[in-house]
């Protein structure tokens, strides 16, 4: 039983398979009219988001609520953080509510690990700086597995700004753990030196993109222009944009969102049947339900919810 989900590195292949299997069972719940199971009834989950986020925060909110947990959402703007309260003090204050889990997103690497040190709650890393975004990697695996069945031997290309991408780091670890062959590709200024150590190959042109089964495009942020990483978005698009020409008919397309239309992806591929982007978002809730279940079910719940709690609907 895992205590926290801080990094994909903490997960064995068995852990990943188990979480993906559990997510599939929750998918059935999400198809019902009353999308709720009582698994975490009476437990408190705190969402602590220091970075703006629509997808991830609403996804975690729904996940907690569908498991019947009590949810508290703390966003950095409009909170004491603006008054200069440190992360440690915020965590200790919130710990007074005895949360079962804290979901934390922070602009700084290692924030989730620090929260785990400072509180007794189970901690889920919802993105820590440029370091990791483990639930994103899990929902990517889930989405892909549902589409193709087996992940072993799949060739995945991660294209774009790898240097600044926690999605890329978690993705490289997760895909390779499941037996995929991973290649990262981007402008030389945006691929970190030494990234091969995570378990991937490196390319700086899309010349061999045709060998990929899955093309995973990363968001290209406009801020990278001012940092002199790329001379212009125009040149980036010319060299690295995934469009109808570059994407083969048998290749799948993924993207963590939000998409910069016309930059890393051309409109025609975003809306094509090869794109899994919408399915990725849809799978976010069930995968996060599975993660919360994995960390909290059986950890000593309040009376009424036993270990190995059922996912069958209960009378209202």
């Amino acid at each position: 039983m895992m205590r926290h989900l801080l990094s994909v590195d903490d997960l064995t292949r068995d852990d990943i398979e188990r979480i993906l299997g559990r997510a599939a069972s929750f998918a059935e719940v999400s198809g019902r009219e009353i999308k709720k199971v009582p698994t975490l009834r009476g437990r408190t989950v705190i969402n602590l988001f220091y970075e703006a986020s629509t997808r991830t925060s609403s996804s975690f909110e729904l996940a907690a609520k569908r498991l019947s947990a009590d949810l508290v959402s703390v966003k950095s703007s409009g909170s004491a953080v603006d008054k200069g309260e440190s992360l440690k003090d915020t965590v200790q204050t919130l710990s007074a509510y005895d949360p079962a889990a804290i979901v934390i997103r922070s602009p700084h690497a290692g924030a989730a690990a620090l929260v785990a040190r400072w509180s007794r709650a189970a901690v889920v890393n919802a993105g820590d700086g440029k370091h990791e975004h483990p639930t994103q990697a899990l929902l990517d695996l889930y989405t892909l597995k549902r589409r193709v069945g087996a992940l072993e031997g799949l060739r995945v290309w991660i294209v774009g700004d790898v240097l600044h991408s926690r999605v890329a780091r978690s993705g490289i670890l997760a895909f390779s753990r499941m037996g995929c062959e991973v290649t990262v590709c981007g402008p030389p200024t945006l691929v970190p030196r030494g990234i091969e150590a995570l378990g991937c190959e490196v390319r700086t042109t899309l010349d061999e993109l045709g060998t990929a089964d899955v093309v995973y495009a990363l968001r290209m942020q406009r801020e990278r222009m001012t940092g002199s990483y790329v001379p212009s978005l125009r040149e980036y698009a010319a060299q690295y944009q995934i469009d109808g020409r570059r994407l083969g008919p048998n290749q799948l397309l993924m993207h963590p969102g939000p998409v910069n239309r016309g930059v890393e992806l051309a409109a025609e591929v975003i809306d094509s049947p090869q794109a899994l982007i919408v399915e990725q978002v849809e799978s976010g809730v069930v995968v996060r339900m599975a993660v919360l279940y994995e960390l909290l079910a059986g950890r000593g719940a309040p009376s009424g919810v036993a270990a190995g709690a059922t996912t069958e609907p209960q009378p209202a």
């Binding site: 440190s86 690497a109 290692g110 820590d128 700086g129 370091h131 990791e132 970190p192 030494g194």
Partner: protein
């Protein structure tokens, strides 16, 4: 005040300050004395009197009123000198003050230290320097020298009144914490050095390469998603300043060398006759960027811990003398500032109290570096600045540290003399402990459990 004899290129004597002490008469019995420079290695009694080493011999008699120390099983070395210490005074006395900082130094076996000027306010004018020296004359437990800034506010634009500050007792000049960005300003500083007569100690970093990096640029930073500081940021700046020093006939001292490229650049410059010296810290000689994997903020400092080949290059350079001395870059930080996400935490670790023990444990015991060589490198820190090297020789000022080379201890278990606890070796078990330090003729430190007795 200690007056040092004039070293080549240093036109005025460097002055150190310390709170008044009465020199003691101390008889150290039965220690194994080791001073490679004096050709000394053997068991002798050592008598200290009137501020100097009075006598070395067998079975010396204790003069009346002498403190006798039973040092059987202990080693006595010339005490150490650290030319790179942050005392945080004025401005951040919560992190360290002159009393706690010099106590920490004495506890590490140091008899003299040089303090860096990146304080609040910066030591960039004679009045600030003088008032600091006055405080040292009231509070410092061991002789302490103060470096002054090269540029006003360390902003890298305008030279400070170096001649006046040299007269007011600046031990040297540095903008440490920051590099001197402009080659033009650096060149002028080297020219002006001919008037000021003091060493320029340089923090070498190219900010356009180091950016907002938090650790060494390498596999570990790629894994952790932290912005990296590439080795070339340091070596490029070092190459620049060695070239400028050669051109202007100046003398520079490269601080906290961390990269093998830097070692190469310095070796080349030395071979070409440039007057350049340099230092390395215990943490760079012992740790690598692997230690940063846990994101422990006690592993965050500038320059950062680099990779194993860099560490090996530093060890080899320490052996060969390409690295002239060990300097701790003791950098205390408040606890709450280090208890933050890694990228936000300030850079710096303490080091005075653990320097010898850590290097003894990790370099001497595994046979990488000779004990005598370590003692040489740890006593040499003042030499580039014109300070005399401590010696165990009759007539020499009494600067001695007594060390139990077999004592095992856990860093931080009994707290620290320093006000700050941000030690890179916190929690480590080390072998080798300083029991007593004599600085400029007076006992500056006795380890708590170390018993002393008077001879009947």
């Amino acid at each position: 005040m200690n007056r040092a004899p004039r070293a080549a290129g240093i036109s005025r004597a460097v002055e150190l300050d310390r709170a008044p002490v009465r020199p003691g008469t101390v008889l150290i019995r039965g220690a194994r004395l080791l001073d490679p420079r004096a050709g000394l290695d053997g068991q002798r009694d050592l008598l200290i009197r009137d501020g100097a080493i009075a006598e070395l011999g067998e079975s010396l008699a204790a003069p009346e009123g002498a403190e006798t120390v039973d040092a059987e099983g202990l080693h006595a070395f010339p005490a150490f000198v650290d030319p790179h210490v942050h005392l945080r005074t004025p401005g951040r006395e919560d992190e360290e003050d002159l009393d706690s900082g010099t106590r920490a130094a004495a506890a590490g076996g140091y008899c003299a230290i040089l303090a860096q000027p990146n304080t609040e306010p910066v030591v960039d004018s004679a009045p600030v320097l003088r008032s600091l020296r006055e405080r040292a004359r009231a509070e410092a437990r061991i002789p302490t020298g103060f470096l002054a800034a090269i540029t006003v506010g360390q902003r890298g634009e305008q030279l400070t009144e170096m001649a006046e500050m040299a007269d007011a007792g600046a031990a040297g000049f540095t903008d440490d914490g920051l590099p001197v960005r402009s080659a033009g300003v650096m060149r002028q500083a080297l020219q002006y050095q001919r008037l000021a007569g003091r060493l320029l100690a340089l923090h070498e970093e190219d900010p356009s390469l180091s950016g907002d990096g938090a650790m060494h640029e390498g596999e570990v930073s790629a894994l952790l998603g932290l912005t990296g500081i590439p080795s070339v940021s340091e070596s490029v700046q070092v190459a620049r300043d060695c070239a400028l020093a050669a051109y202007e006939g100046g003398r520079i001292h490269v601080q906290h060398v961390s990269a093998r490229e830097t070692v190469e650049a310095i070796e080349q410059a030395k071979a070409a006759g440039t007057q350049v010296t340099c230092e390395a810290t215990p943490h760079h000689l012992i740790l690598t960027d692997d230690a940063v994997r846990t994101l422990d903020t006690n592993m965050k400092m500038n320059p950062p811990l680099r990779a194993e080949p860099d560490r090996q290059a530093l060890i080899e350079a320490l052996r060969s003398g390409a690295i002239d001395c060990v300097a701790t870059d003791h950098a205390p930080h408040a606890r709450e500032e280090k208890e933050q996400p890694f990228e936000l935490a300030p850079m710096g670790v303490t080091g005075l109290e653990t320097a010898f023990a850590a290097l003894h444990t990790e370099l001497v015991l595994p046979g990488l570096v000779d004990l005598g060589l370590l003692v040489e490198r740890m006593t040499a820190g003042g030499e580039p600045f014109g300070l005399p090297v401590p010696r165990i020789e009759p007539g020499a000022p009494a600067n001695v540290c007594l060390v139990d080379l077999d004592a095992e201890w856990e860093v931080g278990e009994a707290g620290y003399e320093s006000r700050s606890a941000n030690c890179a070796f916190a929690g480590r078990r080390l072998t080798g402990r300083v029991r007593m330090t004599v600085a400029a003729g007076a006992v500056a430190y006795r380890e708590r459990t170390f018993a002393l007795g008077a001879v009947a």
